[in-house]
């Protein structure tokens, strides 16, 4: 074990996978200088500019060319810079990458990792702050991952590179600097897609979340503990497929489910988790399911306004207390 930042863990994942498999390459804007957040720093020196490819500002073609290159046997890592810019490449993601294997009757695979740095970060305002993971869960053919820790950004990214499906890979910009322990090497570094992580055990209420909100929920659990509430925090890690077994197991134990995410609540992935539990586990529920997501409003620039949209530990703890009949 050694300590790495969430960002450096991703760099290591890319480097290791590129060493392991010649067909892996990365493409995006400014990658030769390390990428806009420095996630690719140093890689061009080791792998050269053909495999760490600087592209024009052409999101649609970054994505579309990656689809073509994947169809013929390479394994591209697509850097979208901000999740918001991936909106310039939706036809390529949704109509092409996600559907090619199926439409062509299984003749080809589209092994792609589509990195989409997401979330609120340093007053980036409405066009640089979105969390749109729910969209991709709705699209057949796509896998959706959203790591919360350095170890998972190492292990899930490696697993995503090895996966033969297109993977929407959502990194939270506010986590880049987060430090944490990561395994040194060996295959146990891999984190399987579709497996949740128990971030904190507790018997009173299950909080399901992912990405940056995992840390927030862990803080909420501390607050709740001070009020005598034992909160279980489940880090979903992968949204599609999501680990129903882990969530159901926990909810059967606690009888209470709160799903919380940074994304807008309306139409968010919390609705899927909450609806599924309400459908299948109603007999186990001691309180109605609850969701806590952002209001349906664009993200403001001014910090105090932006903060209005944040889910805080206090708010999570308050809802949990309510659910426990407080």
């Amino acid at each position: 074990m050694s300590s790495l930042s969430y960002l450096a863990a991703a760099t290591r994942a890319v480097a290791e996978e590129m060493r392991r498999d010649d067909r892996v390459w990365a493409l995006g804007e400014d990658l030769g200088r390390g990428g806009v957040f420095g996630q690719y720093r140093g890689l061009v020196d080791e792998f050269g500019d053909a495999r760490i490819a600087d592209t024009p500002i052409s999101e649609a073609t970054i994505m579309g060319a990656a689809v073509g290159a994947a169809l013929v046997g390479t394994r591209p890592i697509v850097e979208m810079r901000f999740a918001d810019f991936a909106l310039c490449a939706v036809d390529e993601m949704v109509n092409q990458a996600a559907k090619a294997r199926f439409m062509f009757g299984g003749q080809a695979r589209v092994p792609l990792v589509i990195r989409q740095p997401s979330g609120m970060w340093r007053s980036s305002a409405a066009q640089h702050s979105q969390s749109l993971e729910a969209w991709y869960t709705h699209i057949p053919g796509l896998v959706v991952a959203a790591p919360a820790t350095p170890a998972d950004n190492l292990g899930l990214l490696k697993a995503a590179v090895r996966c033969d499906d297109p993977v929407i890979y959502i990194e939270h910009k506010d986590l880049w600097a987060l430090e944490g322990e990561v395994p040194d090497d060996g295959e146990d570094v891999l984190v399987p897609l579709g497996r949740a992580r128990l971030a904190r055990a507790g018997d009173d209420i299950t909080v399901v979340t992912w990405s940056k909100m995992v840390g927030v929920a862990e803080q909420a659990a501390e607050l709740a503990a001070a009020q005598g509430i034992a909160m279980e925090v489940i880090d979903l890690r992968t949204l599609w497929p999501w680990d129903q077994e882990a969530v159901f197991g926990s909810v059967v134990k606690t009888g209470r489910l709160l799903v919380t995410h940074e994304a807008v609540q309306v139409g968010g992935f919390g609705a899927e988790v909450a609806a599924t539990v309400a459908e299948d586990l109603s007999d186990s529920l001691k309180a109605p399911v609850r969701r806590l997501g952002a209001p349906r409003t664009p993200i403001s620039y001014a910090k105090p306004l932006e903060d209005q949209l944040r889910i805080t530990p206090e708010r999570i703890a308050a809802v949990a207390a309510e659910m426990l009949g407080d």
Partner: protein, 333 residues
């Protein structure tokens, strides 16, 4: 443009003619099946445009790759896809190129380097560019050809894809089939400036125009350009002027076009022009007729087989979605 028409070997031209006839016959069979309801989805016929498909693909190897559009049957046949499997696909039957899951607009045949038609105008451009990029990365010696229409040059991926091919110096040939229409719209009315060739040149790509109804000319130009690509050149761009002799889809009577315009264009039918050339080279009319009849028979048989073929197993609706998180099928009530 150099006159290439007089250098062609009669056998080569006969081969091109056979391909064109097979495409025409396929389209006619598909049209009939669409009009009588045996084929359900939209069918975009390439009748009148066969010379481009035949002339370009005659210069490709099985390992070379192409992408095409909603109007792609001709390219598939010319690249070597089995018309039987194609027809099964149009009929949505078992054994179709895509197992009946794609239909006319999504035919693909990776075994012969046919990387897929596309239902989204211009979407094949970045994909073809990526295939060429992949070839370069993998060190594989192939040429990629990207077919698209004159309507596609007004979508962003046209600029992005050509620019990309240029900066990465990719082994790709872009072929714009200029048939003057995008659905019911004259492309002239929605295209500013001199058009595709000039746009390609402004993106640093050496570009050519060719009479797309002259299969000899198309073949000659494609031969030259694929040769230059194999020698390390490329990308290149070709605008092939042709005409969509039928409506936009099989059910479109094309009433928005002048009758005179259409009959004038039938006079330029690449099939007739090829026949004239063959006769000039000494081929007997009877021989050509035989080729035409064989093609018609081949495609009639193919359509009959498709009509009789079974539907795909229902579970196919749920297969080949993805490895991780795949849907689970249970037969419906």
């Amino acid at each position: 443009m150099p006159d290439r028409s007089h250098n062609i070997d009669p056998d080569r031209l006969l081969g091109l003619y056979k391909t064109m006839r097979r495409i025409r016959a396929f389209e006619e069979a598909a049209e009939a099946a669409s009009l009588d309801g045996r084929v359900g989805g939209a069918v975009h016929l390439s009748i009148g445009q066969e010379a481009v498909a035949a002339g370009v693909c005659a210069n490709l190897r099985p390992t070379d790759q192409i992408t095409t559009t909603h109007r792609g049957h001709g390219h598939c046949i010319a690249k070597g896809t089995d018309p039987g499997a194609m027809m099964l696909e149009l009929f949505g039957k078992e054994g179709g190129t895509c197992g009946g899951k794609g239909g006319s607009m999504h035919i693909a045949d990776f075994d012969v380097g046919m990387l897929g038609a596309n239902g989204v105008v211009a979407a094949g451009i970045p994909i073809a560019v990526g295939a060429a990029h992949g070839a370069k990365l993998l060190g594989e010696d192939r040429v990629v050809v990207c077919f698209f229409g004159d309507g596609a040059i007004n979508r962003g991926p046209f600029l992005e894809g050509l620019n990309w091919a240029g900066i990465f110096a990719l082994p790709i040939l872009f072929v714009c089939e200029h048939n003057s229409y995008a659905s019911t719209t004259r492309t002239e009315a929605v295209t500013a400036g001199p058009g595709a060739t000039a746009r390609a040149e402004s993106l640093g790509i050496e570009a050519f125009e060719v009479d797309g109804n002259d299969v000899v000319a198309v073949d000659g130009l494609a031969g030259e350009l694929t040769g230059r690509i194999r020698a390390g050149g490329g990308p290149f761009f070709v605008t092939a002027r042709t005409y969509r002799l039928k409506g936009h889809t099989s059910v479109d009577p094309g009433a928005y076009r002048d009758e005179d315009e259409v009959s004038l264009q039938w006079a330029e039918d690449p099939m007739n022009r090829c026949e004239e050339e063959l006769q000039r080279l000494g081929l007997a009319a009877a021989e050509l007729e035989t080729i035409g009849r064989q093609a018609t028979e081949e495609m009639a048989a193919v359509a009959a087989a498709a009509t009789a073929a079974p539907h795909p197993a229902l579970i196919q609706a749920f297969t080949d979605v993805q490895d991780v998180g795949a849907p689970v099928w249970s037969a419906l009530p």
